[in-house]
Subunit: 228 residues, 2 copies
């Protein structure tokens, strides 16, 4: 294979869009993968498709997996409210059980078929310190497992899980993304965006995003649903 | 929680049925998980439901994931023929990319929601020496990753991936299953069973199963589609 290719997990939010732009800037042909996992709204999947196109992805696929049938998270279980009063301590109710593991596993399956040895995921340990599967030691353990799980590993080619945002503050992620041509107005981070992709401005994801733009000194292009 | 519970991966084949019987014999309340991953036939999913009921599972769920959209295996890609001329060397074309990783990841998600700390998978390194994700070192690496990925791991409770068949020859698996009350006539192992669950008798899975019954000195209850 002459061209280097990567599978990039793309949610449609700010972080994964930046991660895709970084992979592109490193010369990867990018195969983007999104998940319809029973999240509350489809605005972020529409954003993912737009962002993939805007940033020149080779291909964008959406895999449907019904994580909602297991419940256990405010993002997939309509009976659990999304918190809107600010970040708390510990693992938040918006944590989706084993989500990154499930997504990376499916990315791994696609990578094997494509012959890609690089996977990109926009996890961040700064903002999501309460999510166990956003920590560097988790990413390292997944990479080790992936190398034992697959043909590529058996044949001595190493698989690499890239998490280029893992230790960056949100403001720095935004600055780098702007340099790489990300249009953040196309992205949707809100946990409970409306059908038109307008953000609530109150959930943890909105708060982190809004604070990031303020700290970066960059105007926030997010469309908000209500008065703020 | 007073009762010990486990998530058990159940395909409807001989190995996973035995694995479920072993988990039950160890006193676990079993939550069985099957996958509709675009395999060629649905007979094994019907067998999984029957086996789960017969062996007293608490619950049985089927998650649909479209691994076929990635292709790359004779089990999910209609353009690749299932080999019927006997076992070869290396990784067979019936290998489904990252299948065990995807399945264990979803089992992990359900386990987190249930509060289960034990997962059972009927992988076997003897018969499937060509499958990278059937090796003990892979299972150990998945367990390590799972403990870093989840709330349970963060809270210091360990998650255990049990693979009780991993080093057993097929004849021994069958002997133990018979002792534990498994009715193998209910199971379907064939890679290309017909709609009624009748086996081809020629694919690798059929050959290994048939040889296992012969080696165990136990009559083979498999229903075959053609004359043998």
């Amino acid at each position: 294979m002459s061209r280097k290719i990567a599978v990039v997990l793309l949610s449609g939010g700010l972080d994964s869009a930046t991660c895709l732009a970084m992979a592109r800037s490193q010369g990867y042909g990018c195969y983007c993968l999104s998940f319809d996992y029973g999240q509350r709204h489809s605005a972020e999947l529409e954003a993912a498709a737009t962002v993939a196109k805007h940033l020149g992805a080779v291909e964008h696929r959406v895999v449907r997996i019904d994580l909602a049938q297991f419940g256990g998270s405010a993002l997939t279980d309509a009976a659990i409210d999304v918190p809107t009063t600010g970040l708390g301590l510990g693992i938040p109710v918006t944590y989706v059980p084993a989500r990154n593991t499930v997504m990376l596993s499916l990315a791994l399956a696609w990578a094997e078929v494509l012959g890609a040895r690089d996977l990109f995921i926009g996890v961040n340990a700064v903002d999501y310190s309460g999510y166990p599967d956003c920590r560097p030691e988790y990413i390292a353990a997944f990479q080790r497992m992936a190398n034992l799980a697959t043909k590529a590993g058996v044949e001595g080619q190493s698989l690499n899980i890239h998490a280029p945002l893992i230790d960056l503050p949100k403001s720095e992620i935004i600055r780098r993304g702007i340099e790489l041509g990300v249009e953040y107005g196309l992205t949707v981070s809100c946990y409970q965006a409306d059908r038109d992709g307008r953000a609530c401005g109150l959930c943890d994801a909105c708060r982190l995003r809004c604070e990031g733009f303020a700290a970066a000194g960059i105007p926030d292009p997010t469309r908000y649903a209500g008065a703020r």
